[in-house]
């Protein structure tokens, strides 16, 4: 049997806790257990992989058998994989203010219930639902080069959604917050009220009118733009496989000179990781600097093939193969004030909040939905609108960023790719987009 050229094992074990409160009823609340590992082996060509449940219980002998099994799988691969050099290492974990795992489930349940009941108190609300999730565990990494790391992390957060109804018309709004810095359920009752009040306000909003217009994106939606439209296209695996519109464009001016986009896994935000899923020390990568494409995000393999950027962006869900992923992605603040941006927009639309987005990085097309917005007339906000989306061509849109605000804000969430979901933070100041394609079904 041939020897592996390289192997690594990433083992994740811990507990996940959830609470689901639906219209005042605790539907379910409880704790479950996970313990899974992913083993990757480099055969003479490509990767052989084995996923192992209950890894803690496995003997050294069994682990060696898994390595042989992965090597056998690798025999059908034909891609010649080489790994780029990258500095291995681990950053210290930031301290938590209050470890969620140390707070009794009963207390967390009652705190969440407090948020949910505030939403139900608002006049016009017909349905409320609150959720809490907490994943607490240890990630251990070892590879055949002798690198070995282990860290404990707890990610937790809540969401509250409220539905308002009147004369057969319904509207919904949602608030959520996720963090790595400890329990975030205390003194959050206002968030329940905030979601509920917005749902009620949306009852009186009209559907947005679609078309080409100037658009101001709030910090959350512009953060989604940074993530969907720019971040994904800069992922080294997409560049390597030829499905990114910004492949081969390093050094070129691909956006407005006031646009700088960064992915920084070292920030103590929700997308923070002390070490990446290949044992590489995470680094800040400036994807676009003042409009010029300066780096791709990489794992060791895509770094070796594509170059131009940094490894340290490999991330995998527990028990899953690491992929090139974003962590904390944001557009840097510019120097315009919010008032200047609205005024400069003249006639157009302010898009606020996000119901998510999607991108086809090969075609260079993105789509995302705002939760609500306001029509801008003569440089001032007028009526509220709902169900408004934005789509466009990535390259064209980046040149159309006319102004960047000075009010950057980060919003935590989750990002899906290849069937895996990982925690991320997106951020941005308010930005002004000229000639944006806005979707809506209003007249």
């Amino acid at each position: 049997m041939e020897e592996p050229r390289y192997y690594d094992i990433r083992h994740t074990a811990g507990t996940s806790t959830h609470i689901d409160i639906d219209n005042g009823v605790v539907e379910s609340a409880g704790t479950s257990f996970f313990d899974t590992a992913i083993l990757r082996v480099l055969g003479s060509h490509g990767w052989g992989i084995v996923t192992i449940d209950n890894y803690s219980a496995k003997s050294r002998k069994e682990k060696d058998e898994y390595i042989s099994q992965a090597l056998r799988h690798a025999m059908v691969t034909v891609e010649d994989v080489a790994l780029g050099d990258a500095r291995s290492g681990i950053l210290p974990m930031p301290a938590m203010k209050e470890d969620p795992a140390s707070v009794p489930l009963e207390e967390k349940c009652s705190l969440l219930s407090g948020i949910e009941s505030q939403a139900r108190k608002v006049d016009g609300i017909v349905s409320t639902r609150a959720g809490y999730s907490e994943g607490s565990g240890t990630v251990s990494f070892e590879n055949s080069s002798g690198a070995e790391f282990s860290y404990a992390i707890c990610r937790s957060g809540y969401s509250i959604s409220a539905v308002a109804g009147r004369n057969g018309v319904m509207q919904a709004a949602r608030e959520s917050e996720h963090t790595i810095s400890g329990l975030n359920l205390r003194h959050k009752e206002d968030m329940g009220a905030k979601a509920a009040e917005r749902a009620v306000a949306l009852l009186d909003a009209s559907p947005a009118k679609g078309g080409k217009m100037n658009a101001v994106l709030d910090q959350q939606l512009a953060g989604v733009f940074a993530h969907e439209a720019i971040g994904h296209a800069s992922e080294g695996d997409l560049v390597k496989e030829g499905i990114s519109v910004i492949k081969g464009m390093i050094g070129e001016c691909i956006g407005s000179p006031n646009l700088t986009v960064v992915d920084d896994p070292t920030l103590h935000e929700f997308g923070f990781m002390p070490v990446d899923s290949e044992g590489v020390l995470p680094v800040r990568s400036e994807i676009i600097k003042e409009g010029v494409l300066s780096a791709y995000l990489h794992n060791r393999q895509t770094l070796a093939v594509v170059g131009d950027g940094d490894a340290g962006h490999a991330r995998g869900q527990a028990g899953e193969v690491p992929l090139v992923r974003m962590s904390n992605t944001f557009i840097e603040s510019g120097d315009s004030s919010y008032d200047e941006i609205i005024s400069e927009c003249r006639n157009g639309i302010l898009l606020k909040g996000s119901r998510g987005g999607q991108v086809d990085p090969g075609r260079g097309v993105f789509q995302f939905n705002a939760e609500y917005g306001y029509v801008i007339e003569n440089g001032e906000l007028s009526k509220m609108v709902r169900d408004v989306s934005l789509s466009g061509d990535i390259l064209k849109t980046m040149h159309n960023i006319a102004l960047c605000g000075n009010d950057k804000k980060m919003t935590p969430g989750y990002c899906g790719k290849g069937g895996q979901s990982v925690p991320v933070t997106d951020g941005s100041p308010h930005i002004l987009l000229k000639d944006a394609v806005v979707g809506g079904c209003g007249e």
């Binding site: 609470i19 639906d22 219209n23 005042g24 605790v26 379910s28 609340a29 409880g30 704790t31 479950s32 257990f33 996970f34 490509g46 990767w47 992989i49 996923t51 192992i52 449940d53 209950n54 803690s56 219980a57 099994q69 025999m75 059908v76 691969t77 891609e79 994989v81 489930l105 009963e106 349940c109 349905s127 539905v163 018309v169 319904m170 509207q171 919904a172 679609g210 030829g242 499905i243 193969v321 119901r355 998510g356 987005g357 999607q358 086809d360 090969g362 075609r363 097309v365 993105f366 789509q367 939905n369 169900d387 408004v388 989306s389 789509s391 061509d393 394609v437 806005v438 979707g439 079904c441």
Partner: protein
């Protein structure tokens, strides 16, 4: 884990669970599989996995507690967590877990005993797809193939013991030409029911055909949604509104409309639990499944219930409990969704044929409003592809649109456990560039 071991383990758990709860339910699932991943046009990753999990639910005084674990040795810890969980849940009206009933011996047609998770068979599927794709001048950007077999078992303290074996083979391919992309996929329970070559050919065709795409002016157009595009919007917007839980929690557009003509009379929507890749005789709570006609000729006839929701609101479970795996709690879902009704030739008259949409999950499930980017859209007339459209958005209100359907295509496509036709709507709003 073999059946004797599963029976032994579940007896232990039920015995211990009976001491601290009124009723006990155990869901076990396991399986093994192999997968290959194309990186560009070369297989870069090949892997195998073995999975196992146990989910325990306890019911005490109408309070339902649950926990899951992947480690059979640690079932006691899992049981204790389920007991703690039951203490926190709000109590509700509960009339008991189901008892065993005689089951039909119908062949569910979801297990291919000849299918073995074999890595070289998975890599031959890749070759077949590549051969299909070679008919067009495109590059292969990615894709994959997988083989898997698995089992799930539902056991409860009332005596239910139901196990089900299932196999699955799947392929997908992504092709690109310039900045024109095309994606296709297929899955089946049986190895000989998948056409990898055709999947590859279609992905390549889509990428090649959209190369010379043209812009489109904003306006009202006749639009045909492919089964894929239609199922994406359907899944995000309509399916959640059939859930009894959403209906009674005021989160469903269809609440209070039972018996009304809610959609076009050409439309029928039903769940047939014995016709499709999701077939099962008992649902994930051990309740016998049955055909559920949600919409008959446009009239709303039924909602879907699991036990908890049914007991709470004085309804009957429709056998609609589903689990994502052993790690998931039961929730209301579809076994085999069918969209059916009066069929016609929808492709004759000129229309925009939408292969796929980008961002269906951003649609508003409560109101039905959506505005989505189109993918691989072409003019189509007399069943022939015409020129492709570069980029555009489609927007509207899905519930309104469904009141006036211009036709369902004569054939349906199997997408996972669903069977869906192409659906034509006339006068839909398109936002061009």
């Amino acid at each position: 884990m073999n059946e004797d071991k599963i029976r032994g383990l579940s007896e232990l758990i039920i015995k211990a669970g009976n001491k601290c709860a009124d009723e006990v339910e155990i869901f076990l699932a396991g399986g093994s599989g192999v997968v290959t991943q194309l990186k560009g046009d070369l297989i870069g990753e090949a892997g195998g996995s073995e999975s196992f999990g146990i989910g325990i639910r306890l019911i005490k005084d109408g309070k339902i507690g649950s926990s899951t674990t992947g480690n059979p040795e640690r079932w006691q810890e899992c049981l204790a967590a389920a007991e703690a969980s039951a203490k926190l849940a709000t109590g509700q009206k509960w009339e008991g877990l189901p008892s065993p009933v005689p089951l039909s011996d119908i062949d569910l047609d979801i297990f291919d005993s000849s299918l073995k998770p074999d890595i070289s068979a998975a890599s031959s599927l890749i070759e077949e797809m590549k051969e299909g794709a070679s008919e067009f001048d495109v590059n292969i950007a990615g894709g994959g193939s997988s083989f898997g077999t698995g089992y799930s078992v539902i056991v409860n303290s009332e005596g239910v013991f139901y196990s089900r074996e299932k196999s699955r083979v799947s392929v997908s391919l992504e092709a690109i030409s310039g900045t024109s992309t095309g994606y296709e996929f297929d899955s089946a329970c049986f190895n000989d029911r998948i056409d990898a070559k055709e999947t590859g050919k279609q992905a390549a065709f889509l990428a090649a055909h959209s190369v010379d795409a043209e812009e489109i002016e904003s306006g009202q157009y006749d639009v045909i949604f492919s089964p894929i595009a239609f199922s994406q919007i359907l899944g995000s917007v309509l399916l959640p509104s059939f859930s009894g839980r959403n209906v009674h929690s005021n989160r469903s557009f269809l609440a209070g409309k039972m018996g009304e003509q809610v959609f076009d009379e050409c439309l029928c929507i039903y769940d047939d639990p014995t016709d499709g890749q999701g077939s099962t005789l008992l649902d994930a709570e051990g309740v016998p499944t049955r055909r559920i006609d949600f919409v008959e000729e446009g009239v709303l006839k039924s909602f879907a219930y699991d036990l908890k929701t049914a007991y709470r609101y004085g309804e009957e479970s429709t056998g609609s409990a589903k689990r994502g795996g052993a790690g998931g709690l039961p929730s209301i879902g579809m076994h085999n969704l069918h969209v059916d009704g009066k069929r016609s030739n929808v492709f004759d008259e000129k229309a925009l044929y939408v292969q796929d949409v980008v961002g269906a999950h951003t649609a508003n499930a409560i109101t039905g409003d959506f505005s989505l980017e189109l993918s691989n859209t072409s003019w189509m007339e007399s069943g022939e592809y015409g020129s492709a459209v570069r980029s555009a958005m489609v927007s509207g209100n899905f519930f309104e649109m469904m009141k006036d359907i211009a036709g369902l295509s004569e054939s349906s496509r199997e997408i996972g456990s669903s069977k869906i036709p192409s659906v034509r709507f006339n006068g839909i709003q398109i936002i061009g560039k």
